[in-house]
């Protein structure tokens, strides 16, 4: 297979191609037993043809059909109403720590050993490991375009996720990184501690309280309720609440946010995005003032500006604007829990996808949360809900912690804000 053969097909003005190869392996345990081992290998290529400025797209996993796929993309271009001009670039940042050779070389038995150690740990603590997965991934991408770009990048990933049943209380913890770390016991310990803390039950009254939003909770709520508002596509269409507010104080001055596509060891870091545009570090909010939005080529060219390198895609989809590493800067408070007189420490909301992507309104159940009094964990409140609005919440932040972790696309500490908690 020679990917460059795609360019010898006639009938396009510009062409780009994204080739991806991913190797995944994972081991799982269930009910205190190691269960199975699985692997997946996927290779595919997506083609964008630009004809008279319009975009056609087709993909395949069959490389003998490469030229046929290019012809499909050319054929489809006539229907499109979107236009784009592909470009070439000279300079690319090289984020460090996104590929770990050890992940690719690690023996399968090491995964099994790690999982076995988690099972032993859980048994010693008189708990049940209900479900655990440990996964390694290796991804290789190649981007070519008719403007002379010929780029490649590779990355690795390691994730562990553990669920515990302690006296019929379930709690979970996850970890994610680019490199292989010996952290499964730590992840397991966190899940066990949380389950044990949640086994003490209590009741609370409805009211406004300081809620500590752990990064796990923030990732879920912000990905539905805030990320879309920074998308230039929504801004241009007028469905972003932040449209027209650049330079305005939109949030509490304690809040500073960047979208950092070149963060060292970032789970979403890469030298280039899905259109070959160099990844960059984009300021979004500086001390509560709105500084910018996220762009791909199409949306950037609509405003005659440069893309921010936020075209997110895989080989089977057209690029869409998305966050890379959504980085919230740490505050001053070191031990957040001890600073809260009366409040809720929230790890997992229930049904976070019901958060309104347009308005930011949320009204959620609660899966994992602990009640704090005088800086100490007291119990898990029975049957509570939380409600409010993401934009209002971020306008009045009580304080921001220093406990930064990386979870999915979010790199953030805990955030504390007054929130309506509906008790039982």
């Amino acid at each position: 297979m020679n990917l460059k053969d795609a360019f010898s097909v006639k009938g396009y003005d510009q062409l780009d191609l994204l080739y991806q190869e991913s190797n995944m392996r994972s081991a799982t345990a269930e009910n205190n037993r190691l269960r199975n081992f699985e692997k997946n290998l996927t290779k595919g290529v997506g083609i964008r043809a630009i004809v008279n400025g319009k975009i056609g797209f087709a993909y395949t996993t069959d490389f003998q059909k490469l030229q046929e796929t290019v012809k499909q993309a050319i054929k489809l271009a006539k229907f499109s109403n979107l236009s784009v001009t592909l470009k070439s670039y000279k300079k690319y940042a090289k984020p460090k720590g996104i590929f770990d050779k050890k992940v690719t070389e690690l023996g399968d038995e090491r995964l099994i050993d790690a999982l076995q150690s988690a099972v032993s740990f859980v048994k010693k603590n008189n708990t049940i490991l209900t479900e655990a997965t440990i996964a390694l991934s290796e991804v290789y991408a190649k981007y070519l375009n008719s403007e002379g770009l010929d780029l490649e990048a590779k990355g690795t990933g390691f994730s562990d996720s553990i669920s515990i049943n302690y006296k019929n209380i379930e709690a979970g913890w996850t970890g994610g990184s680019r490199n292989f770390e010996n952290r499964i016991l730590k992840t397991t310990q966190n899940a066990v501690d949380l389950a044990k803390n949640m086994s003490k039950k209590g009741k609370i009254k409805t009211g406004k309280y300081n809620v500590i939003f752990h990064p796990f909770a923030l990732q879920q709520m912000l990905s539905y309720g805030l990320y879309p508002s920074f998308d230039a596509d929504f801004v241009q269409k007028g469905t972003s609440k932040l449209a027209g507010k650049i330079g305005e104080q939109i949030f509490d001055e304690k809040l500073t946010i960047n979208d950092n596509g070149i963060l060292d060891a970032g789970l979403s870091s890469a030298p280039f995005d899905g259109e070959g545009v160099p990844s960059q570090n984009t300021p979004l909010v500086e001390k509560g003032v709105l500084r910018g939005f996220l762009y791909d080529l199409i949306r950037a060219q609509n405003e005659k500006r440069e893309s921010t390198g936020n075209a997110v895609r895989n080989f089977s989809t057209l690029p869409e604007i998305g966050v890379t590493n959504f980085q919230i800067f740490p505050g001053k408070i070191k031990d957040i829990t001890s600073e809260v007189d009366k409040g809720l420490l929230l790890y997992q909301p229930l049904n976070p996808h019901s958060t309104n992507p347009v308005t930011g309104d949320f009204s959620l159940g609660v899966m994992e949360a602990l009640w704090i009094e005088n800086g100490e964990i007291k119990f898990a409140p029975k049957h509570i809900m939380i409600s409010g609005n993401i934009f209002e919440l971020l306008k009045n932040i009580t304080f921001i912690g220093r406990d930064v972790i990386q979870t999915g696309s979010l790199v953030s500490p805990s955030i504390v804000a007054q929130t309506q908690v509906i008790g039982d």
């Binding site: 037993r33 199975n36 290779k43 109403n81 007028g238 019901s354 308005t359």
Partner: protein
């Protein structure tokens, strides 16, 4: 749409023969040659018209009681099964995995329906989407109309060393319309969706679509419902979601075995009020979205009674969970596609209709809320807590429908809520389509029902 050049029957037979030559205790393979045609239009512009094809093999091996699974886009017929065998050998499992015996099936069928997807080329879909947009565009207050349409066409084979061979040719079509209304700085978004195995689903879509568009606009000026505990009337979408979230997940036998369900050990027990009857049925003919003839282990789909008159009758099983719990497979082992291991999933889950008329239920409710339409839900099966959101609701006063209010989340405990069902409507069941996520796999499901009256529902509205 064209078919893949691979002869998947020939390929499957080769793989099975190879597995037999390797003296593997049990192997099954799933091969899929798929093509997709999708159209995305927003605000009178086609933003995406694309076409794709993909091919993949998933091989599952159970050898000496150990399970290995390998999936790939590589069409080499021997590679996947050899890799799966190797993975079973290094598999950590100490407990032997067994599959419950099932009928050997040889079948070959097409699921094209009355109006086959293949008769609608992508050019025609583009025209259809324009017409949908015109119909949805009922007011300048609709700031954005985003229409996503996709056709998926799959040539699928399941074959096992036990001798089963199931060849299916068919696909799915779906239409999602996101309508965003904006006025005086206020925004609301409403989704309209349709999906089926053929195009008959798009007949007479116009009025329901316009109703949804109007809803987005009406919600702009609606107030939020209050927070607290109330009695409530649920429409068929909320009731269906209730059957799926509040009960369905907790009876998935893999969760029972993993100690992740509050319903463990409760078969034969009364867990709901007398009026509660819940089934999961993958053979419903009029639901043309998530019904299936065989599951992804080759077990025939069937109707399973989960709750009868308030008594828990059965869990939902795969062959593996059935073997462990000494039950019969219920044909609920499903995988998102060839790249995933099948796990226990629901199909079409619904409350059976009851004895009450809508007006009788309103009268019985007297004061409370009437919740309509769903925005998705989630359940914690061990804790036994669920939450889901309605699109909108009405306040009910003295048995009369009063003001129209925004939607809100309602939350409850599985065991409390099932006992709090007061009445179920006597009417024809209606179903809503959607996707359900579990262990990172999404499969099409539908939930359905009639109106239902519930007491003591926890609403998460405004103070």
């Amino acid at each position: 749409m064209e078919n893949s050049k691979y002869d998947i029957v020939d390929l499957a037979q080769k793989v099975v023969k190879h597995a037999e030559k390797l003296k593997i205790d049990y192997a099954d393979i799933r091969i899929e040659a798929s093509s997709t045609a999708s159209v995305l239009r927003e605000n009178k512009k086609f933003e995406d018209i694309s076409f794709g094809n993909s091919f993949g093999i998933g091989a599952r091996v159970i050898h000496k009681g150990k399970l290995g699974f390998y999936s790939t886009t590589n069409p080499d017929p021997f590679f996947a099964v050899e890799q799966a065998l190797n993975l079973s050998k290094i598999s950590p499992s100490k407990e032997k995995i067994k599959l419950k015996d099932t009928k050997i099936i040889k079948d070959k069928f097409k699921e094209f329906g009355k109006d086959p997807i293949a008769n609608h080329p992508i050019e025609d879909n583009a025209e259809f989407i324009k017409e949908v947009e015109k119909n949805a565009n009922i007011s300048p207050k609709l700031k954005s109309i985003r229409i996503s349409h996709a056709n998926l066409f799959t040539n699928y084979i399941f074959a096992s060393t036990e001798g089963s061979e199931i060849l299916r040719d068919g696909g799915r079509t779906m239409l999602y319309v996101f309508m965003t209304a904006k006025d005086k700085g206020k925004l609301e978004q409403i989704l309209f969706r349709l999906g089926a195995k053929d195009y008959t689903v798009y007949k007479n879509y116009e009025e329901p679509l316009k109703k949804r568009a109007k809803l987005a606009i009406d919600l702009l000026d609606a107030k939020k419902p209050p927070a607290g505990r109330f009695n409530a009337l649920l429409d068929y979408e909320c009731t269906g979601l209730f059957a799926h979230e509040a009960l369905g997940h907790a009876v998935e036998a893999d969760l029972i075995l993993k100690n992740q369900s509050i319903l463990k050990g409760k078969i034969g027990q009364k867990i709901a009020s007398d009026v509660v009857n819940i089934n999961d049925d993958s053979t419903i003919p009029d639901d043309n979205w998530s019904s299936f003839k065989y599951d992804n282990e080759g077990v025939p789909g069937k109707s399973t009674t989960i709750i009868k008159n308030g008594v828990l009758k059965s869990y939902l099983h795969s062959r593996e969970t059935a073997a462990k719990m000494n039950a019969e497979p219920t044909g609920n082992a499903r995988a998102q596609n060839y790249a995933y291991l099948p796990i226990v999933r629901m199909s079409n889950t619904y409350f059976d209709s009851g004895d009450y008329s809508f007006n009788e239920m309103l009268e019985q409710l007297k004061n409370g809320y009437y919740l309509v339409g769903f925005r998705g839900g989630q359940v914690g099966t061990l804790k036994g807590t669920f939450a889901f959101a309605s699109d909108y609701c009405y306040r009910i006063e003295n048995g009369k429908i009063r003001e129209f209010l925004k939607g809100c989340t309602f939350s409850g405990k599985i065991l409390d809520m099932l006992k709090n069902v007061l009445a179920v409507e006597k009417a024809k069941r209606k179903f809503t389509i959607g996707f359900c996520g579990k262990n990172n796999q999404k499969v099409p499901v539908s939930d359905g029902s009639v109106h239902m009256l519930v007491k003591d529902l926890h609403l998460g509205g405004e103070e």
